[in-house]
Symmetry: C2
Subunit: 190 residues, 2 copies
């Protein structure tokens, strides 16, 4: 199996596809779809999202120092793509995507009703890296649709139908079958 | 669809499952599987990984200021789980997992031959967040197995078979079917 080497670029599979909701001081809510995002820390629970400084959501999140992650199900894929392709400067994305803002519990920005998983975050740090600024958010609460809850407070990935993003080929994909559970090799002879 | 609110915890779907290879000053190579990882910046291309300070790889990466991301295919799931469950303090994980170290192009740490996607990174910044330290890595080169290359320099997710991780339910999952391509809603009436 021969390998070919290439100059620097982003290669990463899978990235997530997350709708980030925020609210400006003027009370106007916005949504941006991000895939440059990941878990940063377990305790305290922290999640990072990266946004280009010229995006409308960048200014809002920087000013409010809060945002919500809304994990869409596969059925919302048109809204996911729409919120990543148009600017909130020009349109009301909640209306344009047919999504419903509902109040969060700890932050002012609304969460998206149609997304089965919503995570409220407060920004602890902003790091400028180049094309993108990294917003380090601490989780302050999360919401699950009752229908997707398993093990008291976990999301069932089968029912939540999260969306994966493959940056190289620009594909949104569903998750597929379970191939193991963390720790399943423990105790096996090696 | 009623929602239930919960106190802070990590909820994130999908996270990746990546085998990070590194090499200590003593020439000993190690592997750690991480899921707390994500793209941070497009230009320059930067990827973040978070590692607990008590993990063996933490000291190695901090000292070498380099690491490689090795994206496994689903067939390597036992090795993925093994490298996330045991410590390199006690065992040679390349040998234990049956993986082959091959030289990288820009960094001293080896990449993993069996993984179809390998990304070499140099650490630009380390940020202590609590249980985990975030290592911000700049991509300096990447490798693709010839068999998975599409569009000159991209990875075919069908052939690369990347592994997704669902932290809540601890499931490793394959990626499923394509449900759209970035930008597919552009120009559609809204």
């Amino acid at each position: 199996m021969a390998k070919k080497v290439f100059p620097p670029a982003i290669v990463f599979n899978p990235a997530p596809a997350i709708m980030v909701s925020s609210q400006g001081k003027d009370g106007r809510a916005n949504i941006i779809t991000v895939s440059w995002a990941g878990v940063l820390c377990s305790d305290p629970p922290m999640i990072g999202i990266s946004i280009r400084p010229n995006r409308y959501s960048h200014g809002i999140v920087k000013e409010a120092m809060e945002f919500a992650l809304n994990f869409p199900s596969a059925s919302l894929i048109e809204a996911v793509d729409y919120c990543g392709s148009v600017s909130g400067k020009d349109v009301d994305k909640f209306a344009g995507a047919g999504l419903t803002p509902v109040p969060a519990s700890k932050i002012k920005a609304p969460i998206i009703k149609e997304c089965p998983i919503n995570v409220e975050c407060r920004v602890k740090q902003i790091i400028s890296l180049g094309s993108h600024d990294l917003f380090i958010g601490e989780v302050v609460a999360y919401h699950l649709d009752e229908e997707i809850i398993v093990k008291t407070n976990k999301a069932d990935a089968e029912k939540a139908e999260p969306v994966a993003y493959c940056p190289g080929t620009l594909e949104y994909r569903k998750l597929g079958s379970v191939i193991g559970t963390y720790g399943f090799t423990k105790g096996k002879a090696k």
